[in-house]
């Protein structure tokens, strides 16, 4: 007589493992280090040596760069002349807006500037506007790149509000507020009797001339409306040669900005006096904007700007300081890393349990 009796499955499980391992069924997921989350990994920890050396390293790298940047910035000679107030005739200082809006008054103004140090060519001539929001939401959008690029798209004046068309509906080229508010002060420089030519070729980006502004796009209906904004354009010159406009239409990101006016390709000597004859046409008086004329040389880092140098020196210094501070703290208050007795559930262990444990072990010992 035979009968099936429940066998003890559990105890055979360990021997069963081996058997199963031999006959793997396809159901079993394929093993890989990725699927088992066992990819070899590097596990850095923030140990003091590492952190201190990082800060030291940053200090070592930063201070020289800071010094170099400062030197570069100091090597740049920069002359800044603020002229918008000075160019207003004495009798009209109380009503500058009326002065600038009166077309009958001659806006010519002369300024004398002194060269503080030798300046080597090329000397860049910038005009700087303060408190002028080229980045204003209404202003930024108010242009149409297609129209600027292609003469066939002259009618494409989308986004150009409120300077899209003239009153009779014909499109303005270039349309939009940016072009409409084109900066139109002009500068002439003389050193004694010598006229300093300002080279205005190549002041704009080459990519703009080649690809953004078409060579057969001519200004049309520009500044013909009742409301005249800024400067006018010569309708016979194609847009890609109107470099002042191209420069102007590169939007400045901040309300204080400089734009390139031209280059003086002569060296200037220390104590040279330069006579600037300028036409103060552009109206910044309404919004109390400043106008400055800037003559500057350049360095590998750009114009005169101490910020990077100073920042690098400060950061480098701070890093040295931190490295030293961390080292000191590390030496004074050294702490063993990864000490399990610091684990909260170990630290606050109840005394009673510990007593029991001690009793117990001692009873074993005896």
């Amino acid at each position: 007589m035979n009968c099936i009796v429940d066998s003890d499955i559990g105890s055979s499980s360990s021997s069963g493992d081996a058997a199963v391992a031999l006959t793997r069924k396809p159901r079993r997921p394929k093993y890989s280090k990725f699927t088992q989350q066992e990819l070899p990994a590097c596990k850095p920890i923030l140990n003091p040596q590492w952190v201190i050396s990082v800060f030291t390293l940053i200090g070592i790298v930063f201070v020289p760069i800071g010094v170099a940047s400062l030197l570069a910035s100091n090597g740049v000679v920069e002359i800044v002349d603020q002229y918008e107030t000075a160019c207003v005739p004495r009798n009209m200082t109380n009503d500058k807006v009326a002065y600038i809006q009166n077309a009958d008054i001659d806006k010519t103004c002369t300024r004398l500037i002194k060269v503080p140090r030798d300046m080597h060519q090329p000397i860049y001539v910038y005009y700087q506007l303060d408190n002028f929001y080229q980045n204003h939401r209404r202003y930024v959008k108010s242009r149409n790149d297609a129209q600027l690029r292609n003469s066939k798209e002259a009618n494409e004046t989308r986004y150009c509000d409120p300077e899209r068309t003239t009153e009779d509906g014909s499109p303005i080229v270039p349309c939009g507020l940016i072009a409409w508010s084109f900066f139109n002060d002009t500068y002439r420089f003389t050193r004694g009797d010598q006229k300093l030519t300002v080279n205005k070729k190549g002041i704009s980006w080459k990519s703009d001339r080649d690809h953004k502004f078409g060579k057969n796009v001519y200004p049309k209906n520009f500044q013909n409306g009742t409301l005249i904004g800024g400067g006018k354009l010569n309708a016979d010159i194609p847009l890609n040669e109107q470099e002042d406009l191209i420069v102007w239409m590169r939007i400045a990101a901040l309300p204080i900005f400089r734009k390139l006016y031209g280059k003086i390709e002569l060296d200037l000597k220390e104590n040279d006096t330069i006579l600037v004859t300028l036409k103060n046409n552009y109206n910044t008086y309404i919004f109390n904007g400043k106008k400055k004329l800037v003559l500057s040389t350049t360095s590998w880092l750009g114009g005169k700007n101490d910020f990077l140098g100073l920042a690098y020196l400060t950061v480098g210094g701070l890093c040295f300081f931190l490295a030293v501070a961390f080292t000191l703290v590390y030496m004074i208050k050294s702490r063993k890393l990864g000490d399990p007795s610091d684990l909260s559930w170990n630290r606050d262990s109840s005394g009673a349990d510990y007593e029991l444990f001690r009793d117990f072990t001692s009873s074993i010992d005896s």
């Binding site: 499980s13 596990k43 309300p255 990077l308 961390f326």
Partner: protein, 1104 residues
């Protein structure tokens, strides 16, 4: 409300639904609207839609609307198609069930029809091993006594066979008559109670009489049960389709939202409020600036009279500008990484059940991080903690202990000798084992006999008796045949005094056909059987035996017998029949009558049966409890068994360390008083390091849940452990609901159909694909092969998922806020007019590529190795308490993004001032600054670097430049040549390095300082792990645990709710010193030799 079912009558069957089962959520028609409606119920989606719509208004949009619409449509399409796919699969499953062929009687003829066409009142014919297609009232079977066997595993999870009987009025009908039967069944409206069916049946003439015949659940065949060992059976359909008891108890699973999801939603809400504030403030300031300053800025040409909505334009612009504060990519990234977490679970080799080769499976891919936040685990017992295989282990016969030495009485030489020498006591004992049961022997064609038992205990006893040469061969009607040592003995089974949970014993009255003597054979729980023994018999040994066995976690039964006098039996038999036929208080009357016979028993001995725990259960529970997870055991089993198992698997501790508090009582008052008492004890002792657990049974629970919910809730909060026995599936679900209402994260684990509702109700449902079928596993969010995988599921997968999601989501907010803060800062320099510093392409790419890809690498990040986590499960508290993503950690990220925005913006505008201040250039400088910073932030926040992570971070960094070089080559693009121009300037690179140094320096310094001088437990373990490496291997520890487990039966765990008072010296200086507290923290063991020493010492203590 009643339902009247006319049997076999086509005329009135249309009033009830047909048998079509439908689990579908959508139909073809309502899919789009319903799905869209559901998606738009999410706040985030509404928000993004609003933003996308606003962007269509070109006056206010700072960027191209496609940058929002594109991602939005993709997101919607992805989730809609996922839903559709799921629903389609449900439809296919339903279809399969609905189109199954069944035999139904129509117009007196048996016909094959599809299951969905069964109507209420139809007579359904079933064959052996058929699934019951709807709820039936049994009216005929192939068995002469009108019984049939069903397997109800799919319904209640119990694997044993149940007997179902046809109602008395149908007895004796042959199958011809069954085709023509007519009648009416009066039954209640559909409900979900699978243990109750109070109905009446009346057959119409010519069928016998038209007396009302009461029906109970024993007369039914419920949907999804299987007919077994019965050639055929037929029944009348009473409930069909979704109105069956199974259909009614099938809850609609709600989509689950994890705690992290909820937290993210909360943070999103906070960000949204912040954004509104920013928009209002900036909008107001913008309008003021416009009216005071902008009108003077003639080149802006503001019209004097604006449209009516003019005041709104600037605020709305800011709204759009700030809309990226809430990252649209977050949901997509989260869905993506969550599905990878789920894949990791599926792939995990260590959670592969080697026995059956079943891998674990994450059915719900969305809730992995909740696993790391579990606070309560509600577990089923049978089949979940235990293997659900009862094995006869030991016995004590007439004062002699068998099996104590070898642990298996069947192999005990003494036992075999006793059987061989025909020891009368042993033979009687074996006879009772073989006869006193309701087991059905089934003879297969090959002549082997297998047993079908309602109770696994009886199965074990009969099998054990068979191994000791007392083989139960057959039961034919009342005749029982036993083969003892080759000779066949016949008995006549006179009566069966059935087991009830009140009596706690069962007896049979048999007549030895050979000698004609009548015997009463009894077996039962010790407390129910021993008092019935003959006065004067020495029962002390048996009490000791029971105690000793119980200590070992074995289930004990006391066997007894008595010879009955002929007339005594005849007298009693009459009373028994009478009691059996009473209608009022039948159960009580039968019990009383049984009592009269079950006395003066001669106690034969005690059996000890083991329901083996699954491998690794005590360790798993131990580790998870150390991790601060509370365990509740919810079982349909009886109290004593539940407590025994609980003791065995570290669930509760025996007396000195632990204490069990019983809530019991029959009436409401009793229960109330009992509850009050337990609550009081619990309050007083909650501060003591004592392991308290309360025990409650289903009856008391029902009263409590109805009347004293508040007190019970308090109890639930106070108690770390609870044992609920004799609970129904819906009570299990109610308990889950109760814990959830206290804001606890619950995980329910079970293996049977009776756990399905609990599993669906809990935050996380885990199903064990075990012996009780796949019911639970199918309903569950996670499917594992063995209980012990739970610790890996929670501690490894849950924890990593939580950590990774916490980082990923907060980082997503960080990077969105970073870019947004820069925009806000820029607006102060652009006349608060709402100009966007960045162009549309950059903004979109920033969210979609530049910042999403490196952070994806965090799915491989591991802060601690799996080993370390297993050794220090307490570390889970960081996940449980949600310490890695909460308002304060978020505030840190918020602050960091503000700081970084300031750094990037201020350095950019100072380095690129004056003649360099060109819009496109400055924009790219700031954007590159963000990219540089975020690469370093991800580097610093990662804990481990695999090659993939390294590639993702720096590959993305390189990709940023490549993409921008490409875009810089397109003449029509706004940023034509910009990137080349910048990369040629030394000042660009110097600026980038400066941004990184200023941005990351303080972060690094702060992190270092915290890491070294204010370390969190995670930091300490990281340091420990990386400096010293793991001190000892896990296998070592587990084997140690196990060895202690075996010898020390009364391990207790002492971990009060504050989770920190367990003394646990984890790592000692020398690697050989494996000092560790094991469970009770009372027995701290030094080294393996000492551990052996101590355990033998303990054993000695016990034996003395």
């Amino acid at each position: 409300m009643k339902r009247f079912v006319y049997i076999n009558d086509d005329s009135c069957q249309d009033s009830y639904c047909d048998n079509r089962i439908s689990n579908r959520k959508y139909t073809l028609l309502n899919f789009l609207p319903k799905n869209l409606w559901e998606q738009f119920r999410r706040f985030m989606n509404q928000y993004f839609l609003l933003i996308a719509c606003l962007q269509l208004w070109s006056l206010i949009t700072p960027v191209n609307p496609a940058s929002t619409w594109g991602p939005l449509i993709i997101i919607f399409a992805v989730s809609a198609s996922k839903e559709a796919w799921d629903d389609y699969n449900r439809y296919l499953l339903d279809k399969q069930a609905n189109e199954k062929e069944v035999w139904v009687v129509k117009n007196g003829v048996r016909k094959h029809i599809q299951a969905q066409d069964i109507r209420v009142g139809s007579i359904v014919w079933l064959r052996e091993n058929d699934e019951v297609p709807c709820d039936l009232v049994l009216i005929g079977t192939s068995e002469p006594l009108g019984i049939c066997y069903v397997e109800t595993a799919a319904l209640d999870g119990e694997t044993d066979l149940k007997t179902r009987v046809i109602p008395p009025t149908c007895v004796g009908l042959d199958s011809e008559q069954l085709h023509k039967i007519k009648g009416v069944i009066e039954c209640p409206n559909p409900d979900k109670d699978i243990r109750r069916f109070d109905a009446n049946m009346r057959l119409f003439p010519p069928f016998i009489d038209n007396d009302l015949c009461p029906l109970t659940i024993n007369n039914t065949l419920l949907q999804s049960c299987y007919l077994r060992y019965t050639e055929w059976a037929c029944g009348v359909a009473v409930y069909t389709g979704n109105e069956t008891k199974l259909g009614m108890s099938r809850g609609i699973p709600e989509p689950k939202l994890t705690a992290v999801d909820a937290m993210i939603d909360k943070l999103t809400g906070a960000i949204f409020l912040f954004q509104i504030v920013v928009v209002i403030v900036l909008g107001f300031a913008g309008n003021v600036w416009k009216d005071t300053e902008a009108r003077k800025q003639w080149y802006v040409l503001y019209p004097n009279e604006g449209p009516w909505y003019e005041l709104l334009v600037i605020p709305l612009r800011f709204e759009l500008l700030c809309s990226i504060m809430i990252p649209i990519s977050l949901k997509v990234s989260l869905d993506l990484v969550k599905s990878v977490y789920a894949k990791f679970i599926d792939w995990d080799e260590e959670m592969l059940d080697q026995e059956t080769d079943t891998p674990s499976h994450a059915a719900n891919t969305a809730i992995s991080e909740d696993l790391g936040q579990v606070e309560y685990i509600l577990t089923d017992k049978t089949g979940t903690l235990t293997e659900n295989r009862m094995i006869f282990r030991r016995c004590c016969i007439n004062g002699t202990f068998y099996g104590n030495e070898s642990g298996d009485a069947l192999k005990d030489v003494e036992m075999l000798n006793a059987v061989a020498s025909n020891d009368t006591h042993v033979i009687r004992f074996l006879t009772v084992m073989a006869l006193c049961n309701t087991v059905m022997p089934v003879k297969s064609n090959s002549g082997t006999i297998s047993y079908k038992a309602q109770s696994q205990d009886e199965d074990a006893l009969v099998n054990a008796a068979a191994r000791l040469h007392m083989v139960l061969i057959s039961k034919n009607g009342n005749t029982v045949e036993i083969n003892y040592n080759g000779s066949i003995v016949q008995f006549e089974m006179l009566d069966i005094l059935e087991f009830t949970s009140d009596r706690k014993r069962m007896s049979v009255v048999v007549k030895d056909c050979h000698s004609g003597k009548i015997f009463l054979l009894s077996k039962g729980a010790d407390e129910a059987t021993l008092p019935c023994s003959i006065p004067g018999q020495q029962i002390r040994t048996y009490i000791d035996a029971v105690e000793q066995y119980a200590q070992l976690g074995l289930r004990t039964l006391v066997l007894g017998w008595r010879e009955l006098q002929e007339d005594e039996y005849r007298e009693w038999s009459r009373m028994f029949k009478e009691a059996n036929s009473t209608l009022v208080d039948r159960e009580w009357k039968i019990a009383e009558v049984c009592q009269r016979l079950e006395l003066d028993l001669e106690i034969l001995g005690v059996t000890a049966i083991e329901d083996r725990l699954q491998e690794g259960v005590p360790e798993t529970i131990e580790i998870l409890r150390q991790a601060g997870i509370n365990f509740w055991m919810l079982t349909g089993d009886k109290q004593s068994t539940a407590i025994q198992v609980a003791l065995q698997c570290n669930f509760i501790s025996s007396e000195p360390k632990g204490q069990l508090l019983f809530i019991n009582g029959k009436t409401e008052d009793e229960v109330a008083r009992s509850l009050e008492r337990v609550l009081l004890t619990m309050r007083i002792t909650s501060s003591e390091p004592k392991d308290l657990a309360f025990v409650v049974d289903g009856w008391a629970l029902e009263i409590i849940l109805k009347q004293y919910k508040e007190a019970f809730t308090e109890l639930a909060i106070l108690s770390r452990t609870a044992i609920c026995c004799r609970v129904t599936p819906s009570q299990k679900a109610q308990l889950v609901e109760l814990l959830k209402s206290c804001d606890y994260r619950t995980l329910a684990i079970g293996d049977g159909g009776n756990d399905v509702r609990m599993i669906q109700q809990a935050d996380i449902g885990v199903g064990i694909s075990g012996r009780e079928g796949l019911q639970a596993a199918r309903a569950a969010d996670y499917r594992i092969g063995k209980f012990r995988f739970l610790k890996r599921l929670i501690l490894v997968h849950g924890r990593y998922s939580y950590n990774r999601t916490a980082f990923l989501s907060q980082y997503s907010f960080y990077k969105s806020l970073l870019i947004c803060f820069i925009q806000i800062l820029f607006s102060f320099f652009s006349g608060i007019s709402g100009t966007s510093l960045f162009n549309s392409v950059s903004l979109m790419a920033y969210n979609v590529f530049y910042t999403s890809i490196p952070v994806m690498a965090s799915i491989l990040d591991k802060d601690l190795s799996e080993k370390t986590v297993m050794q220090h499960p307490q570390i889970l508290i960081y996940c449980q308490a949600g310490r890695l993503i909460n308002p304060s950690t978020f505030a840190g990220w918020f602050g960091r993004s503000l700081y970084h925005a300031l750094v990037v913006f201020l350095i950019s505008i100072h380095a690129y001032a004056d003649e360099k201040s060109e819009m496109e250039e400055l924009s790219m400088v700031a954007l590159s600054g963000c990219i540089w910073l975020q690469a370093f932030v991800v580097m610093l926040e990662m804990n481990s670097f695999t090659l993939l992570q390294f590639l993702a971070i720096w590959g993305n960094f390189v990709a940023f430049y490549v993409i921008n070089f490409i875009v810089s080559n397109i003449p029509s693009a706004g940023m034509y040549t910009i990137m080349f121009r910048l990369c040629r300037q030394p000042s660009y690179w110097i600026t980038m390095v400066l941004i990184v140094a200023v941005g990351m320096g303080p972060v690094l310094a702060l992190k270092y300082f915290r890491y070294t001088y204010r370390p969190s437990a995670i930091n300490i373990l990281q340091q420990a792990e990386r400096i010293r490496g793991p001190i000892y291997s896990l296998g070592n520890l587990e084997s140690q645990l196990k060895s202690v487990e075996k010898d020390v039966a009364s391990l207790s765990l002492n971990q009060p709710k504050n989770r920190n008072s367990v003394y646990e010296p984890l790592l000692s200086d020398s690697p050989t010193a494996t000092r560790r507290s094991i469970g009770p923290s009372t027995f701290d063991l030094f080294q393996s030799t000492q551990s052996r020493l101590s355990s033998s010492y303990l054993r000695n203590c016990k034996n003395n």
